[in-house]
Symmetry: none
Subunit: 352 residues, 4 copies
Amino acid sequence: METIKVAIIGCGTIANSAHIKAYMANPNAEIKYFCDIRKERAEKAVSDYQCGEAIEDYHIALEDPEIEAVSICTPNNVHASIAIDCLSAGKNVLCEKPAARTYAEALEMQKAQRQSRKVLNIGVVNRFNTGVNIIRKMIESGELGELYHVYVSFRSHRSIPGLGGAFTTKSIAGGGALIDWGVHFLDIVMYCSGDPQPLTVTGQAYCKLGKNMANYAYMNMWAGPPNYEGTYDVDDFVTAMIRTEGPSITLNGAWAQNIGIDEMYIDFLGDKAGIRLQYGADFKLYSAQNGALLETIPKFRMEDMFQNEIDGFLTCIRTGEKLPSHIDTVILSSKIIQAIYDSSDKRAEVSF
Amino acid sequence: METIKVAIIGCGTIANSAHIKAYMANPNAEIKYFCDIRKERAEKAVSDYQCGEAIEDYHIALEDPEIEAVSICTPNNVHASIAIDCLSAGKNVLCEKPAARTYAEALEMQKAQRQSRKVLNIGVVNRFNTGVNIIRKMIESGELGELYHVYVSFRSHRSIPGLGGAFTTKSIAGGGALIDWGVHFLDIVMYCSGDPQPLTVTGQAYCKLGKNMANYAYMNMWAGPPNYEGTYDVDDFVTAMIRTEGPSITLNGAWAQNIGIDEMYIDFLGDKAGIRLQYGADFKLYSAQNGALLETIPKFRMEDMFQNEIDGFLTCIRTGEKLPSHIDTVILSSKIIQAIYDSSDKRAEVSF
Amino acid sequence: METIKVAIIGCGTIANSAHIKAYMANPNAEIKYFCDIRKERAEKAVSDYQCGEAIEDYHIALEDPEIEAVSICTPNNVHASIAIDCLSAGKNVLCEKPAARTYAEALEMQKAQRQSRKVLNIGVVNRFNTGVNIIRKMIESGELGELYHVYVSFRSHRSIPGLGGAFTTKSIAGGGALIDWGVHFLDIVMYCSGDPQPLTVTGQAYCKLGKNMANYAYMNMWAGPPNYEGTYDVDDFVTAMIRTEGPSITLNGAWAQNIGIDEMYIDFLGDKAGIRLQYGADFKLYSAQNGALLETIPKFRMEDMFQNEIDGFLTCIRTGEKLPSHIDTVILSSKIIQAIYDSSDKRAEVSF
Amino acid sequence: METIKVAIIGCGTIANSAHIKAYMANPNAEIKYFCDIRKERAEKAVSDYQCGEAIEDYHIALEDPEIEAVSICTPNNVHASIAIDCLSAGKNVLCEKPAARTYAEALEMQKAQRQSRKVLNIGVVNRFNTGVNIIRKMIESGELGELYHVYVSFRSHRSIPGLGGAFTTKSIAGGGALIDWGVHFLDIVMYCSGDPQPLTVTGQAYCKLGKNMANYAYMNMWAGPPNYEGTYDVDDFVTAMIRTEGPSITLNGAWAQNIGIDEMYIDFLGDKAGIRLQYGADFKLYSAQNGALLETIPKFRMEDMFQNEIDGFLTCIRTGEKLPSHIDTVILSSKIIQAIYDSSDKRAEVSF
């Protein structure tokens, strides 16, 4: 396979912790550009990884005919515009999650993909997680019987990221706990239960614990220290109920809550068996047999899901295979998240 | 205070474990009749407690002018008719929870109460629980700040009662996990948050794990052994989301589920502090002060809530005081439960 | 802020573990001299930290007009003389705890500070500890009600430092467990309770377990191995009772005792609530509300108290702000410690 | 040995739980009178134990020449007057602890004993405890080396007895935590260290947590339910330091405190070994040998200390042996307790 030349747009945390090293570990890829509007971050990447060229304007990469693939690792507010530009320029795109700030933006991206006939995958990296794929197969094969309900908990005592920064500014991020964490959890549910169409969505999103920024007590903070001059107008707690063509789904999520217990798991309830998946870790299977109740702990080699994601992206550029991370699949959770925010605003259920 | 003569209607578990001994411990009460359509149960009570007279037909008690108070401890299907008969006969009534099988029946009971001007209290015994009352005061006094959401979990791995009996027959019980357990949990939420009016209700109730009775694996069973010839047509799992004039509420409840972890708690989420109440046990308060996160474990003398309930009932017969367990308050959770079942049937949100 | 040039006098444990790295982490400070009468220790510091000049005689630093700040990290016996020299030379001084061997020496230091109008802070580093400050605020705000008694326990099974060395020689250290450990504990009590004036002091200090040095059994020893040729004439156990204008205080302290349980804590007893602070760690708050007894565990980000101390020292050189570690405040615990030793000698209470 | 006829004066808790059954278990004793000013309590004793005669006025027993021995189990305020009456009438007396409300009263009792030449023992029952006697022998034999300090902790989170009753009324009980609990602990210390003469006493007694009776939160209460109409003017916290001809002693005691940890122990600190005695339970010995630190847990048959006390009392009536519970010994702790209260009032040390 001929080497694929890649441009990294946005050289922040997710680029450095996941994308760049996965491209470098793939023998068929070569990073040609590191792009960041903060030039020094692009330059640092060139220096750290000893490859590529630092640029400030991503159009330079788009105009370079050698570039076939682009990873978009920017804040959410420019996902859509950059992805559409890239596709229009004939590039294949891996865009970090969430697809976009809104469902409307995501639909524009999907449209651009269709017109360009290039790849547009979204960084729903759990679809490349070993444990998640085992669960998906178990459900598909009927091991759980009828999957009638899924309960999703992504609740943390204190985990607001970069208070006052891009993560907590709605015009940049599109939302808070739901769009940033919920998108991963919901994506796992959708993937494992066969991406069923949503029928009704009701939910409430609350902006409570971070809005009085000076009073927000915490032990540590990811994505940078607080910027008390910044903006905090996103959801730090969200609750919702979704009916689908498959199981019903309820969720409670919190970047921050006044319950001092972190509960990050998904319960898949089937009439024959059930699964509790600890997010990012292992899972247990509960079943029954001959009158006995069974608790099963599976062990398996956990592959590097980011590597799988990047490898899959590079391969499908050549093969044309449609991955589970394709915009056509991911658009569904974008639709659901939008509906939760809409339902929250009007305080009533949304029906499709 | 002159002694109040009492009739116990229904001499099953709840009568024996709670009502009868509480009346006997109250110096102002005297049990005159034990009534049960299974005469031998009434006779056993007379023999066990060395007082009263065993009757089969509760009308005998209603015609006795000495009887001032009645405890209704029957299955749910005759709550309404007996309560209405008692009130019409000028008796004061303490009726076990749930008020009735349906909201319509509960409204009939409320109407009968208003016409009779006698007491009609419902056995929402948690309103007489020490810990619950401490939480209620904390919320009322603003210690939690704005209470914006409550999450309710009453999920058990295996706890279907008397499979195939009165508890699992919809025409008798009116429902399953929701009406039997959920009524207690929802009642605590309503009580602690000031009995707010519901605005929207959406939910799904599932009859999954018990319906194939022979295949139901379990470790033990309360309310009697399985009757495989009986009926199982009630919910063993329920999920719902409720918007109120106060907090939003989500719940997941299971008499049985294929997740091998019992989770019986209520999370009260306020913007200043939160509480996790372990049902029937103690609670923790989570707050913050001067940048520190605080976890508080209260210890308190746990009073006998059934005794408080019965004492309160007897006193209010004399004083006319309206207790928190009055039908006028309890009717709200009856309305919500009905709406959850209705919403489940039509697979859409119910608005008031 | 213009850079402050600093001299470190004494390059032993406390200098290396705390002072030096805090100065280096402060952008406004620059260490110009490392001074130690054992020249090789000063030279090691220059080499380790890649800055400054090694000197043997601190007068060199005092004669350098660029030096504005001095940290005194020597044994206790030269605290007073060096601090007075420094102040007389117009330098600002941070002197490790205890201020001096005796109250008389500490008063001389205070006098020199007043004449020089320069800063003289003492290394009562717990006044810059996050948890201690939270407790102080709780007490100040009345959360404990009336603080009527404080019990202080600094008892270790076996912790005599450098047996036979500077720590255990009265003419150098001024005392043992009381002046070395007790000063910290007493300082926390004084700080948290608003630095109340002492009224009466009675106490007994015992030199028992270390005096027969060869027989002293121990598991490990801080501040160097035993020197069996050295001196051991200090207190390894002390007990005292102090009346103040605020709470009464009792203490039991042991560098070594024949009770195999380490108990290092301070109990603040208020009539509304109480606190047990585990020295160097976290604390619990005990209160009551609505008949319930509450146990509260605060979590908070623990700041680096040595960094806070040094940062505060550097800032107050510029601003003139009087910190809680100023000699004028710290002199009170020096007075109390002196009175405990005096009371022990004459076996009677000392009144002020 | 000829049977000794006994009168029990005061038929409350301590009589029923300890004295009466011990007399009944001793073949040489016979209870002839149960006396109580509440006649029904005396009558209940006659009925319960099927022996003796119920009387309301103890003078009936004093006038009965058959009576040789009297147990005084009344509230503290009548200990002295009844004991003196009994001795004057030629009876041998076992009087419950404390000897009296004040040192002056105790001295009167001692005087009456000397004049009567009859037995006057005080109910310092721990002097008949197996573990306490083992400790006493260890100290006496030099196993601890020089016993230089004893620390006494009798601190409970919540244990005020009969709030508003005899225990909490100073004119009846003479004091609170110190006189009721402290007397036992101090007595053990005095006994084990050879009843050394006190030299100086300083202390503070506080009446804080119970005085606002309605606000006193507690889990359970011994010696009866609260009487909110009653009096609460005794110490619920006490601290003191005592110098003796032997070891120094410090103590902290609490019937109630806002520290949620019960600590009921005595630490005996010797320069060779030390002991921590858990009150009412076992003890540990800490020593050193050949450079090793040793922790020793002794096991022994725990005898019934009340039985030992009563048996000893009965025997010494015949033999004339002076027991460790003789008023001449016990008077010392009465003197110390008085001095603590006096020192607390004048806020200064008391010297003898």
